[in-house]
């Protein structure tokens, strides 16, 4: 059992938890993730490590309450325990020392992006970030990024904060204005990452994306998380979750993510009863 040290509500759909997990806290790096099981018989839910404290042996997760299992997690409070918490899983993000990197975050994607950009900043890279959300409420971690990013751009679908429009509009604008980026790191919904790549690929700006296919074990045992990258099958949980955006077959990823849509719906209905 793993203790929830603290909990914070970031907006109506997104929450943060700090959890005591010595093995994970000891070893994890930006880009890696954990699998959480809220209770006995619970689903194995993959969540990115948003932050960690090696001394206090804690790991921070930020999750969007989207369905049954994240809903269950959301019922837990500081002082409660989760049944299982395993990691760190996946490869650390392949971060390179260069001059200028821009991060592009969609919704809860800001959470996994945060430790990567902070690490780059620590490596001496100039970092900017574009954070997008449905509306103002869904733009998360803005202050945290402001602590070290040179520029923080905000976009919302409804214009309630920052620029009205998509993250890709801003990215395109910056590039058109002559900003030079050595690399783009895009984390968010698949459709967003696909569209970021549409902007960066013609200009040959290397673009890393983070894939979140449906996973079970997270250790390379089931193959359920397989994705096609550069024409080859890769397991996102062990070979990723970060991949070269130019090589990812996004359409296949999107289809595979919907494999259990009906069952997820059924689960939600049950939870609502």
């Amino acid at each position: 059992m793993y203790k929830i040290v603290s909990k914070e509500i970031l907006n109506s759909a997104v929450e943060l938890m700090v959890i005591e997990a010595p093995f994970v806290a000891n070893k994890c790096e930006a880009g890696q993730f954990v699998i959480v099981r809220v209770d006995e018989d619970g689903e194995r839910v993959p969540l990115t490590i948003a932050d960690y404290d090696r001394e206090k042996k804690t790991v921070t997760i930020i999750y969007q309450v989207i369905g049954y299992s994240t809903g269950l997690l959301s019922k837990k409070q500081a002082g409660d325990y989760v049944q299982d918490f395993v990691g760190p899983l996946g490869q650390p993000a392949p971060l390179h020392k260069c001059d200028h990197v821009i991060g592009v975050a969609g919704g809860v994607g800001a959470a996994p992006l945060y430790p990567q950009l902070r690490k780059l900043h620590e490596m001496g890279v100039k970092v900017d970030v574009i954070i997008g959300g449905r509306s103002e409420e869904f733009v998360i971690l803005k202050e945290k990024f402001e602590a070290f990013c040179d520029h923080v751009y905000v976009t919302t679908d409804d214009g309630s904060a920052g620029i009205k429009g998509f993250v890709t509009t801003v990215l395109q604008d910056l590039i058109d204005k002559g900003e030079k980026f050595d690399e783009v790191i895009a984390i968010g919904p698949l459709i967003m990452m696909k569209n970021v790549v549409k902007v960066t690929k013609p200009l040959e700006i290397p673009t890393a994306v983070s894939l979140n296919p449906i996973m079970i074990d997270g250790t390379g045992m089931c193959g359920g998380c397989r994705v096609t990258v550069g024409g080859q099958t890769r397991f996102a949980c062990v070979d990723g979750p970060d991949f070269d955006g130019f090589l990812v077959d996004f359409d296949e990823c999107m289809k595979r993510q919907g494999m259990f849509r009906e069952e997820e719906h059924e689960c939600k209905l049950r939870a609502a009863q």
Binding site: N26, K27, D84, F85
Partner: protein, 465 residues
Amino acid sequence: MEKNMSMTKVAMPEQEPDVRNKNFSEVALGYTKEMAMEEAARCLNCKHKPCMTGCPVNVPIPGFIEKVAAGDFEAAYEIITSENALPAICGRVCPQENQCEGKCVRGIKGEPVAIGRLERFVADYHMANAVSSEVQPQKNGKRVAVVGSGPAGITCAGELVKKGYEVTVFEALHKAGGVLSYGIPEFRLPKDLVAREIETVEKLGVDIQTNVIVGRSVTIDELIEQGYNAVFVGSGAGLPRFLNIPGENLLGVYSANEFLTRVNLMKAYKFPETPTPVKVGKKVAVVGAGNVAMDAARTAKRLGAEEVYIVYRRSEEELPARAEEVHHAKEEGIIFKLLNNPCEIHGEDGWVKGIEVVKQELGEPDASGRRSPKPIEGSNYVIDVDTVVIAIGQSPNPLIRQTTPGLDTQKWGGIIVDEDTMKTSKEGVYAGGDTVTGAATVILAMGAGKKAAKAIDEYLQGKTE
């Protein structure tokens, strides 16, 4: 005692095929005392004990059978467990026809003695009747880390703890047991029973830490730095192989590991009572014909699939699964499409729609003596299915070898060991089970764990002197 000269084994009570293919309860119900004694009386107590030569861990078979015949089941249990720590499991899953029963003299004319069933009976009898008297052994001050809680790791841990070592088992998943927990289904190996066998080693003092992935959460070098005097790696062969044919990433295609893990470990057969789902569809093709394939096919049937096919490129003779599983699968209505090799999975709107196969014929025997299949030109046809499960084998997970400098491995990934001691190329590190041999059997994994425990003991005792 009067010998029973019947040519056939005392029949095993089983659930009716048409009932059991709709539930997940155990298929074989086990002998009663009377049945066990009657079957035991078939044993001739041969002087040269041919059955024992077939047993990878040297269980004194005629010795325990004699006790069963005499009705002294606890004595029989003592004899079995002197060599085999997990008899309730082995009695259920060992391929006896290739091992002890394959060598049994009674099998020359008629059926061999039902050694597996008797072993199971004795273990179940003990579990139901004996009060556990596990005493924690005197500690010797040395620590051993075991990676993986499958039969190899659990056996090694159990042997070492009995010798006084402080043993910690690190398991990547949230539940101990390895394939016994996540792979082999409830209807063949009840999970309660696996849990009880694991409790037994815990009672002896073994500390099992789940949710620790060696190589990620902690490395083998770090374990040694932290003061473990030796490490045993029993991490199994959990990496699923795919066919590498078009269509394999369509929705509705699973590896057997995914399919079985969803059902066994995550209890998807109770969905939506439990939250992890599995989709079976109406028609299912399982590719492969080993134990894993049989388990996947029979699981699909139980989950409500109307037609379930085993698609295998060789013939009946080469079927690698335990004979009993093939027999049970057929009884339960699984359809065998033998000499059929898949070449493409067809889809519609991203979902599986059919599997295209090429008919095969058997050629001349190859170097290994197996007749290899050859495609019959132009014989392709499509089997309509909405789910495909790939069960063509697993290899060792690369994580340990990638994170353990100095650990030599085979090209295909298996850890290289000295066969007598299970010692690897790295000082103080031993390995055994599927991670060394590739996917094999429970009993071989146990045998390896036991051998390694002995060698680790010798190594650590030598070290102090």
